[in-house]
């Protein structure tokens, strides 16, 4: 009988120990480890796209704090040079994949970038740039899907590198040099793979052109993008068929802040420097500063001196300081009260 009790005690001890070891093992295994490691981030994205989303031929690259993905397919763009219905679905899947990878990695990824290219028109590309924190906010229901979309920079553009190549070729021809030399020079130049500004981000000739993005720079581009959309969609400015807005952020005090250069065009693309009335301009400035205040409050970003809008056509410039914009957002002051300038 003693043997039985000894066995029973032994089994008890072993069973409980085994149980707790299992618990400990499962509880600790994999909990702290990121799903997509820094070392294999680009490869992981490509694999994920292929495995979970059925997207073959995706190319990916991590450059600084930007994770880029490139996807090209035949008939990706429709006749309006925008994503077709079928392509939208693929685009959504690619954005989902890159978002997943961006948030579940130990690499310091602050922005993600997706470049779409239709094999029929390699000269143009659709570039989408988004902030990783926005994905997290949307995931926590702190951001509506509409706002998330609005915060992304989407631009259809001719590859800047093509433009440069063409310029270079023209220069070489002018200098009487052989254009093949221009191609060689261009090849060497492009091998750097570094873009100078957000506008230069893209993919060309099997190579990503990415750059390390500052948050303020992204914000300036976003403000410019949303301002452009606002002006072109607002019925009050219906006569302004085309609007071009460039945004920059100057980090140097005492004039740190955003500068937005606005170009207004009529339907026939003529500059309308004289035809825009004072009243319309005042409305434009007021609406623009209200929008800027809204965007900045979305990020709680008030650490700058002023925001400045310059309408190139009329040479009109207006500015508002950070405190004024905050009060405008909080509806403590009217837009007309905070706008300064001639």
């Amino acid at each position: 009988m003693q043997g039985y009790f000894r066995t029973q005690s032994w089994l008890y001890t072993r069973s409980l120990t085994g149980f707790f070891i299992c618990v400990l093992f499962f509880a600790t295994s994999g909990c702290g480890r990121p799903t997509f490691s820094k070392e294999r981030l680009a490869e992981s994205l490509v694999e994920l796209c292929e495995r979970d989303y059925g997207l073959k031929g995706v190319k990916a690259k991590l450059h600084g704090n930007v994770l880029g993905a490139y996807y090209s397919a035949d008939r990706l763009l429709n006749d309006n040079f925008w994503l077709s219905e079928e392509s939208s679905e693929k685009s959504f899947r690619l954005i989902t994949a890159i978002s997943r990878v961006s948030v579940s990695t130990d690499a310091e990824v602050d922005f993600y970038c997706v470049v779409y290219q239709d094999t029929r028109f390699p000269e143009v590309e659709l570039v989408l740039l988004g902030e990783v924190d926005d994905v997290k906010r949307a995931d926590m229901w702190a951001l509506s899907p509409d706002e998330l979309n609005a915060r992304r920079l989407v631009d259809l553009k001719a590859s800047p590198e093509i433009k440069r190549g063409e310029m270079l070729k023209a220069l070489f021809t002018k200098m009487g040099l052989e254009t093949t030399l221009a191609d060689q020079f261009m090849g060497g130049y492009l091998s750097g793979g570094i873009a100078e500004s957000i506008d230069d981000i893209g993919y060309w000739n099997g190579r990503f052109f990415l750059k390390e993005i500052e948050f303020e720079e992204f914000l300036a581009s976003q403000v410019a993008n949303r301002l452009r959309l606002m002006i072109s969609q607002d019925t009050r400015f219906v006569e302004l068929a085309t609007v071009q807005v460039d945004g920059e952020f100057d980090p140097n005090p005492p004039n740190s802040g955003f500068t937005l250069d606005v170009n207004l065009f009529t339907g026939d693309a003529e500059v309308i420097d004289a035809s825009i009335s004072e009243e319309k301009l005042r409305e434009l400035f007021e609406s623009s500063f209200i929008l800027i205040a809204d965007i900045l409050d979305g990020y709680h970003f008030w650490d700058f001196d002023r925001a400045r809008i310059y309408v190139k056509n009329t040479g009109t410039e207006r500015s508002a300081d950070s405190a004024g914009l905050k009060e405008l957002y909080e509806k403590k002051r009217e837009a007309s009260d905070i706008i300064r300038g001639k």
Binding site: T7, S15, F19, V23, F26, S29, C31, P34, T35, S104
Partner: protein, 541 residues
């Protein structure tokens, strides 16, 4: 071999523990496994969120346990809003209970028993457990119960039986338990305690044992009351339950009325003439009134009125007096208050001259028959002013409380009812639809006289209404109905005879009524007296 058998034995002995371990392992590993399959960001997010679940579960558990504890131990929905009413706040002395002397006398014994409970216990007697106050509404049952509490000087717990009734099943019974628990505690501390349950019929109606279970809740409340009252006997808690109800005893459940429960019943009836006079004296003390007020007449005018009615009349009279910008309440205010309560407020709508004249003769018909032929009632007022749905009214009351009706009185009732019709017929040769309610009343009285009271001349004795209609032969029915008609006809002839003799009086009254619209008791008396001077009553035979 031996070891494997030992392991098998161990497993068979401890399979329960292993089952628990496997179950725990499953509920622990399943989420870990599931979490390991999601992206690290999602995992962190889920784990962060899940980590708050412990706190959420704790908060929910605390709320749940608190609710459960409150429901179980603190009364929950059955929580009663009763409070002990201290004797000094009850503040109803024995002398304040007026007009119900008999009920007071019976209740006084209860007070004495409560007061001398120590002596009673010493000689082995047992204190009374329940007292049921039965009677019409407004007769002072609640006041009497309060006076008993004041005089006995013991704690008094009061609540309405409707307070036990709740939509939740079992709450009524729970409330009864709680009430008696409180009462026992007070009885333990103070020697005795009175529990007063007003409107007892709300829970004490005869229990219904139906299959549907619709009335189960009331039954269970009543069962609990019965159990608690029985429980009082077993322990030496001097808890005296006083119940008050307007319902007749037949409605109450017999189990409640058996000895040991409500073993003493006191009938609190409407006050008599003397009682009413006392009540008028009592309530008039509280308002400024004309010292010449004839309280005796007021008491006569308010036969069958309860103390609450009398209090209401005086309050109404005070309001009328203020409206008429008087400093004191006089007889006309009192009279108007009584009429307002009994007959309704005067309406301002105008009748046509023809209608007015017909109404005056119609009411005079009632008035003269009442004065000449009614053996028990006095006329206090005649009026041809619109009230409620009537065009006119003759207000009369018995000179004293009458508890039975003899043939003469019933015949007089019929004659009075027919007086209006005959007067219209004699004066105008046509009659109006205003006689409908009079005929209704006359027929009802005559029908009862023949069918129920055995008062016909045909010697048809017995209450024929207890026999199902189908079992009565057509011959009997015909005979009974013929006797009913005969009574009506006989009364009609008598009224016509009276009017033939006294038509002059009818004319005088009708003209006065048309002139003044209302005739008060004194005016009616005077007209009669004046008329009799010139037309002395001829001796019969």
């Amino acid at each position: 071999m031996a070891t494997s058998r030992k392991i098998k034995l161990f497993l068979s002995n401890n399979w329960g523990i292993f089952a628990v371990i496997i179950f725990l392992g499953f509920i622990l590993f399943a989420p870990i496994y599931a979490l390991s399959k999601v992206d690290s960001y999602q995992r962190v997010y889920l784990v962060s969120w899940l980590s708050t679940m412990g706190l959420q579960a704790t908060v929910h558990s605390v709320i749940f346990v608190t609710c459960l504890w409150w429901l179980q131990y603190r009364g929950g929905f059955s929580k009663l809003s009763i409070k002990r009413i201290k004797n000094q706040f009850v503040n109803v002395r024995w002398d304040d209970v007026i007009g119900i002397d008999e009920a007071k006398q019976e209740s006084w014994e209860v007070v004495q028993l409560i007061k001398d409970r120590a002596r009673l216990l010493k000689i082995g007697g047992k204190i009374l457990r329940g007292l049921l106050l039965v009677g019409p509404p407004g007769c002072g049952k609640t006041m009497l119960a309060r006076a008993i509490a004041t005089e006995s000087n013991v704690p008094f717990l009061s609540m309405s039986a409707s307070g036990f009734v709740e939509v939740y099943v079992g709450v009524g019974a729970s409330r009864v338990r709680q009430l008696f628990k409180n009462a026992r505690k007070l009885a333990y501390a103070y020697g005795a305690c009175i529990v007063f349950i007003d409107e007892l019929d709300a829970i004490a109606r005869r229990r219904v044992f139906s299959g549907s279970g619709g009335s189960e809740e009331t039954n269970s409340t009543q069962n609990q009351l019965l159990a608690e009252m029985d429980g009082l006997k077993d322990k030496d808690h001097n808890v005296i339950v006083i119940g008050a109800t307007n319902a007749v005893e037949d409605i109450l459940d017999s189990a409640l009325l058996r000895p040991g429960r409500f073993d003493r019943r006191v009938y609190v009836d409407v006050p008599g003439l003397e009682g009413r006079e006392k009540l008028f004296h009592h309530y008039l003390k509280k308002i400024k009134h004309d010292p010449a007020l004839d309280i005796g007449r007021l008491a006569r005018k308010t036969v069958y009125k309860s103390p609450a009615d009398i209090e209401g009349i005086i309050k109404e009279a005070a309001l009328i007096s203020i409206r008429n910008k008087k400093d004191v309440v006089d007889m006309s205010d009192m009279s108007e208050a009584i009429e307002r309560i009994d007959m309704g407020i005067k309406r301002k709508r105008k009748m046509t001259d023809r209608e007015r004249e017909m109404t005056a003769y119609h009411e005079t018909g009632h008035l003269v028959v009442l004065c000449e032929l009614h053996p028990t009632d006095d006329v206090f007022k005649a009026s041809i002013i619109l009230r409620r749905e009537t065009l006119g009214v003759v207000y009369h009351q018995p000179r004293e409380e009458i508890f039975t009706h003899d043939r003469d009185r019933l015949m007089a009732e019929i004659k009075v009812a027919l007086g209006g019709y005959v007067a219209e017929k004699v004066k105008f040769s046509v009659t109006s639809s205003g006689v409908q309610s009079d005929f209704q009343k006359a027929m009802a009285v005559a029908h009862n006289m023949v069918w129920r009271f055995g008062m016909s001349d045909a010697n048809m004795l017995g209450d024929y209404t207890v026999i199902p209609a189908g079992q009565l032969s057509d011959n009997v029915k015909e005979k009974l109905n013929s006797e009913t008609s005969k009574i009506i006809q006989q009364c009609m002839i008598e009224v016509e005879g009276l009017f033939k003799k006294e038509w002059g009086l009818v004319e005088i009254f009708a003209k006065e009524l048309l002139k003044k619209e209302e005739l008060e008791y004194d005016e009616i008396e005077k007209i009669f007296a004046d008329y009799r001077k010139t037309h002395p009553r001829k001796k019969e035979g």
